[in-house]
């Protein structure tokens, strides 16, 4: 579904990604982790072309994201993305946040868009807040709306960029529950940048560990946690486990 081959990226002279190669098969859940500044958020933003790459190739469902003149808008509408800081549109109600791209990109009628919106908000437990504005919601609620907004496009895969790292601890679970349900019940193809080990153990098929812009380990979840092969991964795990 998602394939990355030798992807490299520079900001000026500074190399942020070095020959990253990995793939996510249909229905697979892959967790990307690593110390801050290791390039994991940048990597995931390359998948839908939010960050351009200078070298290498990324394909999603056979379409080349990195090709010159690639139809990115079309491709992006098929890949849902959830951000660290939610990025709901503050000037629109929850309803309009979900309807906007359905109408403008997918060409759904207002009635169709609203019907889909209501179904998804019910699913993430936010239907009672449909007329509120993002500023009236807690972080966890906003993130659940953001997930529903991405799902409203009926995506073939979902990208999550640290979806719980800006949340207060008591709100992390409500967001992770939605994500677990998405993985288990829908069999959604997911690439998730997160440090939530519980989530990874529950639903991730593989863990990609990054450090200094390179993929250091790419292994089945159980293997990675039980027996990380690199010193850097061991060091990282000991830090997040024993804090």
């Amino acid at each position: 579904m998602i394939e990355m081959e030798n992807v490299s990226k520079w900001y000026g002279d500074f190399r942020v990604l070095t020959d990253c190669t990995t793939k996510v098969a249909k229905g697979e859940v892959v967790v990307v982790c690593g110390p801050s500044g290791s390039g994991k958020s940048t990597l995931i933003k390359c998948v839908n072309g939010l960050e351009p790459v200078q070298q290498g190739r990324i394909t999603v469902d056979g379409a080349d994201v990195t090709a010159k003149g690639a139809k990115l808008t079309n491709l992006r509408s098929k890949i849902g993305m959830v951000f660290q800081h939610f990025e709901l549109y503050p000037h629109m109600s929850v309803r309009d946040n979900l309807c906007l791209a359905q109408e403008k990109v997918l060409g759904r009628s207002r009635a169709e868009a609203e019907a889909r919106t209501e179904t998804l908000l019910t699913r993430v437990g936010m239907i009672d807040h449909i007329s509120k504005y993002p500023g009236q919601l807690s972080g966890g609620q906003q993130q659940r709306v953001a997930i529903a907004r991405a799902l409203a496009m009926d995506p073939i895969a979902m990208l999550f960029d640290e979806p719980t790292s800006a949340l207060d601890p008591e709100m992390i679970k409500e967001v992770l529950d939605v994500m677990v349900q998405l993985a288990r019940e829908d069999g959604m193809t997911m690439m998730v940048v997160t440090h939530e080990m519980g989530f990874a153990r529950k639903v991730a098929d593989r863990v990609v560990f990054m450090d200094e812009g390179a993929i250091v380990e790419d292994r089945p979840t159980q293997d990675f946690y039980d027996d990380p092969s690199s010193e850097r991964a061991k060091d990282f795990l000991s830090k997040i486990l024993n804090h």
């Binding site: 808008t73 992006r76 098929k78 849902g80 800081h85 990025e87 549109y89 000037h91 906007l100 907004r149």
Partner: protein, 218 residues
Amino acid sequence: MGDFDFGVIIQSLPFLWEGLQLSLLLTFLAIIGGLVLGTLLALARLSGIVPLALFAAGYVNLIRAVPLILVIFWFYFLVPLALGRPIGGFYSALIAFVMFEAAYYSEIMRAGIQSVARGQVHAGKATGLGYWQIQRFIVLPQAFRNMIPILVTQGIILFQDTSLVFVVSLRDLMTASSIVARTEGRLVEMYLFAALVYFVICFSGSLFVRRLQTRMAT
């Protein structure tokens, strides 16, 4: 004080009201036109397309480096030359104000657009929205909202600047007051009254801005 005759104001109220209407109409139309053109200039400047950005930057810097009264003169004399026929004081003044204000509004809107977090653009892109859709539905509404107090302040300045249209023989509030002042020989009364009207309108505008700011801060 006995020499003052404030009755002259009452008598000339219809005449002054016509002047005020012209000032307000000119302000209103110039705000709308300037805002539209200014927003386009701001988008051009931020577009990343070099010739467009250079043109917009050149325009803004040129206009902001000349006095408004000169711009009014330019359009009064140049537009008829370009069109081959006179368009009258009102339209030439209106064009001048729109072109002049656009330069200032474009700088305000540019700051407003930049004040919208990049994540918002990413969120729009991630759902497949195109550049113009993102600007239209996500960035500009927020930029505009963030900038309302400064936009209103600029509108107040613009209202005061409409008093310059006397140079193209238009009868705004200031010019109407001057005419009455001179013909009736009541300079003090008329200029005091004109000042009072400008003050009331501009100060109400300032109060409105202050209220907006406190409302937006909460």
